[in-house]
C-alpha cells in the first residue's frame, strides 16, 4: 500500500498514538498520585511544581489529566471493543444466514437502536448502578446495534460473492467462512467505524459524568473532572480548561483519524456519517 498523502491522517494518527501512549504510561509519567490531596496548595494556577495547577482539593491537575486519559480511554476502548465483538458478530451472522435469523437479530437491534443514546445509557446505568465498569457496559450496549447494522450491509454482499460460494462448495464450515473470508474483508469498515465510535464514546462518557451517573469520584476521568470543575470556573479555571481541552483533543484525534481513514481506505464509504 502506498503511503497516503493526507496530512490529516497523519495528524490524527499522531494525536491518537500520543494520547494512547500517555494513557498507558500514566502511572509512570504522572508526577503525583492523582488522588493525593494537598489542601494547603489548592486551586493553584499553573506553575512549578504543579504544571497544570491544582484543583479544589489540592490535587495535581496534570497527574489527574494523565490518569483521566487512562480511565476515559479504557472505558471507551472497552465499550467499543465489546460492541464490535457482539454487534459485529450479530451483523455478520444475520447477513450470512439471512431469513429468520436475520430478521430476528436485526429487529432486536432496531429496538436498541430506537433509544436515544444518552437515555438508553441512563437506563442501563440506573439498573446496574453507577460504577466505572457499568459505564463501559452501558456505552457498549448502546453501540451494539450500530456495529451490527453497519457490518450487515457489506457482509450481505460478501456472503453472495464468488469466493464465499466457492468456499462453501469446498466444505469450509460456516464459522470458518465467516472468520476466514468475510470478516477480513470488512477490516476497513471496522477500522473506520471503531475510530469514529471511540471518539463519540469519549463524549458520551463525559456527558454521563456531567449528569452524575458516569465514572464516580474520586476516580479521575476526563468527563468527571470537567463536570466537577465547572462550578469553580470563575475562581479557578485551570482544571476545567485542561480537562476540557483533553476531552476535545482525545475525541478530535479519533474522529480525525477515522475520517481520514475513511477517505484513504474506501472512498465509497464517504458520506455515511
Amino acid at each position: 500500500m502506498r503511503l497516503p498523502r493526507s496530512p490529516l491522517l497523519w495528524i490524527g494518527l499522531v494525536l491518537v498514538l500520543v494520547q494512547v501512549g500517555v494513557a498507558v504510561a500514566a502511572p509512570w509519567i504522572a508526577p503525583y498520585d492523582p488522588l493525593q490531596q494537598t489542601i494547603l496548595a489548592r486551586m493553584r494556577p499553573p506553575g512549578a511544581p504543579y504544571w497544570f495547577g491544582t484543583d479544589n482539593f489540592g490535587r495535581d491537575v496534570l497527574s489527574r489529566v494523565l490518569h483521566g486519559y487512562r480511565s476515559s480511554l479504557a472505558v471507551s476502548a472497552a465499550s467499543v471493543m465489546g460492541a464490535l465483538l457482539v454487534g459485529g458478530s450479530l451483523g455478520v451472522i444475520a447477513a450470512y444466514y439471512r431469513g429468520w435469523t436475520d430478521r430476528i437479530v436485526m429487529r432486536v437491534m432496531d429496538v436498541l437502536f430506537a433509544f436515544p443514546i444518552i437515555l438508553l445509557a441512563i437506563g442501563i446505568i440506573a439498573v446496574l448502578g453507577p460504577r466505572t465498569g457499568t459505564t463501559a457496559v452501558a456505552i457498549g450496549i448502546v453501540y451494539v446495534p450500530i456495529f451490527a447494522r453497519l457490518l450487515r450491509g457489506p457482509a450481505l454482499v460478501l456472503a453472495e460473492s464468488e469466493f464465499v460460494q466457492a468456499a462453501k462448495v469446498l466444505g469450509v464450515s460456516d464459522v470458518g467462512i465467516m472468520l476466514g473470508h468475510i470478516v477480513p474483508n470488512l477490516a476497513s469498515v471496522i477500522l473506520v467505524q471503531a475510530s469514529l465510535s471511540l471518539s463519540t464514546a469519549i463524549l458520551v462518557e463525559a456527558s454521563l459524568s456531567f449528569l452524575g451517573i458516569g465514572t464516580q469520584p474520586p476516580t479521575p476521568s476526563l468527563g468527571l473532572m470537567l463536570a466537577e470543575s465547572r462550578a469553580f470556573l470563575l475562581i479557578s479555571p485551570w482544571p476545567s480548561v485542561f480537562s476540557g481541552a483533553a476531552i476535545l483533543l482525545a475525541a478530535f484525534g479519533f474522529n480525525l483519524l477515522g475520517d481520514a481513514l475513511r477517505d484513504t481506505l474506501d472512498p465509497r464509504l464517504r458520506g455515511r456519517d
Binding site: Q37, I39, F57, G212, P218, A231
Partner: protein
C-alpha cells in the same frame, strides 16, 4: 406633641400603603436547585419542600432569626401542671387560603393528623408525648402531655396548621394560613406563590408573588443571578458564594447553618461495633482541612450539636478525638485487634455535592490512618433505601439540624429512635436523653446534654464533620430578606423589591 407624632405615624402608614400598592404586583424570581417531590407539610420534610412550604404554612409558634421561639398562630401560651399542660390562645381572624377562618378545631385536627400512625408523618416522634388535645372554645387549644417535654414549643413551629377538612389533595395542592398561597406548580419548572390577601399580619406580605424557579445547574443559577434574571438564590454553595461575592448588583448573606456533614457508622457491623474503631475514624479525620477544601474556609468543625446552637453546643476543643492524629488512629485500630489496612466501603449520597466532596477528603485522610476506604457514590433513591435498611458499613451524608437538642439527639441516638439507623444502643445515654426530655429547667438540661455530647462525640455512631456557613445571594434591590440557620425563608413575608 403626642398628636403630631401620631399624625406623622398615620402619614407614614398611608405612605407605606401607597408604596405597598405599587409593590404588590411585583414577583420575586427565586432560583432553587431541586423540585419538591410532594407538598404535604406533615409528610414531606426534605429541604426542597420546606423551602416552599415555609411561605404557605404556619405553626402555633415560629422560630426567628436568632433561633428564639416566637408567637405565630398562637398569640400567647401558659404552661401549667408542672410542664404537662400547655394552653394556647389562638390569633383571632386568621384566614386559610380557602377563605375559612382558623379555629381550635383545625389546630386539634392537625395535631391528631401528625401523631396518627396511619399518616406516617416523620414529625410524629416529636409529638408522641402529646396525650390529649382539648378545645374548650374556638380560640383556645389545650395540649395535655404524658410527661413534661421541654422542646415542645420550638417543635410546634414545624407542625403546620391545616384546616380540619382540607378538601384538597395535600401532596399536590396546599391550603395554609401563610403569607403566600400556591397558585401554580409545573413540576421541574416552577412553583408560583401569590400573595394571600387576607393574611393576618397587616401590611404583609409586601411582595405580590414568589416564583420558585427550579434550576438544577449551579452555573446557571449563578449566572442567572449575576445577570439579573433571578432575584434570590436561597441556598448557595460555598464555592459559588465566593464567585458571587463582590459582583455588581449582588449581595451575599451568610449565617451559621444547622445542617452538617457526617460519617454514619453501622454499629452492628464488626469491627464498627467496637467503640475504639469509631474513635479511630474520628481521630483520623482532620475537620479543619474539610473546612478549607470543601467549604472554602467558610464553616467550622462541629460536634453532635451545631455551634449555631450557642446555648447547647459543647466546644469541640473539649473532644480529645478532634485533634487529628493518623498514628493514634492506627494504634486504636491495632488495639482493637484489627488487621491493617481495614477495608471499608463508604456509601455516599450522590445528589448532595457537599457530601460527595467531603467524602473524598475523608477518604484520603482515613487512608493515611490504616483504613482502606472505597467510595460508593449512590443515586439518591438507592442511598436512602440502604440507609433505611441499615444496609451500610459507613456512609457520608448531610443532615438538617433542629433548634432544640432533643429533636436531633433523641431520634438519632436513643435505642430504637426513629432515625437510629446505626442500631446504636447505650443504656446510659438513653437515660440521659430521657431525663433531659422531661426536664424543664434550662440549666439542668444543659448539663445533661453536655454529658450526652461528650459520650457521643468520639465513640458514638456518627463522626460529625463540619457545619458550614450558609450562604444566600440576592440582587441588591431585594430588601428585608434574612438568611436563617434553619434554611427557613419565612423572612420573605416582609421582603420587598426596590
Amino acid at each position: 406633641m403626642f398628636l403630631r407624632s401620631l399624625r406623622t405615624a398615620a402619614a407614614a402608614a398611608s405612605l407605606a400603603v401607597l408604596l405597598m400598592g405599587s409593590a404588590s404586583a411585583q414577583t420575586l424570581e427565586i432560583a432553587t436547585d431541586a423540585s419538591p417531590s410532594g407538598l404535604d407539610p406533615h409528610l414531606a420534610t426534605a429541604f426542597a419542600t420546606i423551602l416552599i412550604n415555609g411561605n404557605i404554612y404556619e405553626g402555633l409558634t415560629a422560630i426567628d432569626t436568632d433561633l428564639r421561639t416566637v408567637p405565630a398562630l398562637a398569640t400567647e401560651w401558659t404552661v401549667t401542671d408542672e410542664g404537662k399542660t400547655y394552653t394556647f390562645k389562638l390569633r383571632p381572624n386568621v384566614a386559610f387560603h380557602n377563605g375559612k377562618v382558623m379555629t381550635s378545631a383545625d389546630v386539634a385536627a392537625s395535631v391528631r393528623r401528625v401523631v396518627n400512625p396511619q399518616t406516617g408523618s416523620p414529625l410524629a416522634s416529636r409529638f408522641v408525648v402529646i396525650d390529649t388535645v382539648e378545645t374548650p372554645d374556638a380560640g383556645t387549644v389545650v395540649l395535655r402531655l404524658k410527661e413534661p417535654a421541654a422542646p415542645l414549643l420550638s417543635q410546634l413551629a414545624s407542625l403546620a396548621v391545616l384546616p380540619a377538612e382540607p378538601g384538597v389533595d395535600l401532596g399536590r395542592q396546599t391550603v395554609g394560613t401563610g403569607p403566600f398561597r400556591l397558585t401554580q406548580w409545573v413540576p421541574d419548572t416552577f412553583l408560583m406563590l401569590e400573595k394571600h390577601a387576607a393574611y393576618w399580619e397587616a401590611g404583609l406580605p409586601k411582595l405580590g408573588a414568589l416564583k420558585f424557579n427550579i434550576v438544577p445547574d449551579a452555573t446557571a443559577r449563578q449566572v442567572g443571578l449575576a445577570g439579573g434574571t433571578y432575584h434570590l438564590i436561597p441556598v448557595v454553595e460555598p464555592a459559588i458564594a465566593q464567585t458571587l461575592q463582590g459582583r455588581p448588583g449582588v449581595q451575599v448573606q451568610n449565617t451559621q447553618d444547622l445542617a452538617y456533614t457526617l460519617i454514619g457508622i453501622n454499629t452492628t457491623k464488626p469491627p464498627f461495633d467496637n467503640p475504639a474503631v469509631r474513635e479511630a475514624i474520628n481521630t483520623a479525620v482532620d475537620r479543619s482541612q474539610i473546612v478549607q477544601a470543601v467549604l472554602f474556609g467558610r464553616g467550622e468543625p462541629g460536634g453532635p450539636l451545631s455551634p449555631g446552637l450557642k446555648d447547647w453546643a459543647v466546644p469541640t476543643s473539649e473532644f480529645p478525638c478532634y485533634r487529628p492524629d493518623a498514628a493514634k488512629a492506627r494504634q486504636l485500630l491495632q488495639g482493637a485487634g484489627v488487621t491493617l489496612p481495614l477495608k471499608v466501603t463508604m456509601n455516599v449520597i450522590g445528589s448532595l455535592p457537599l457530601a460527595v466532596e467531603s467524602s473524598q477528603v475523608v477518604q484520603a485522610q482515613m487512608n493515611q490512618a490504616g483504613f482502606e476506604v472505597t467510595l460508593n457514590v449512590q443515586e439518591q433513591g438507592r442511598f436512602i433505601q440502604d440507609w433505611r435498611a441499615s444496609n451500610f458499613e459507613v456512609f457520608a451524608s448531610l443532615n438538617g439540624g433542629g433548634v432544640d437538642p432533643d429533636d436531633y439527639l433523641y431520634r438519632t441516638f436513643r435505642t430504637g429512635g426513629s432515625t437510629n439507623v446505626f442500631k446504636y444502643s447505650d443504656p446510659q445515654l438513653d437515660a440521659l436523653l430521657d431525663r433531659a426530655r422531661s426536664t424543664a429547667d434550662m440549666g439542668q438540661r444543659q448539663a445533661l446534654y453536655r454529658q450526652a455530647q461528650q459520650a457521643l462525640a468520639c465513640r458514638g455512631p456518627i463522626a460529625h464533620l463540619t457545619y458550614s456557613t450558609l450562604f444566600a445571594a440576592h440582587r441588591q434591590n431585594v430588601e428585608g430578606f434574612t438568611v436563617m440557620p434553619t434554611r427557613s425563608t419565612r423572612s420573605l413575608r416582609s421582603a420587598s423589591l426596590r
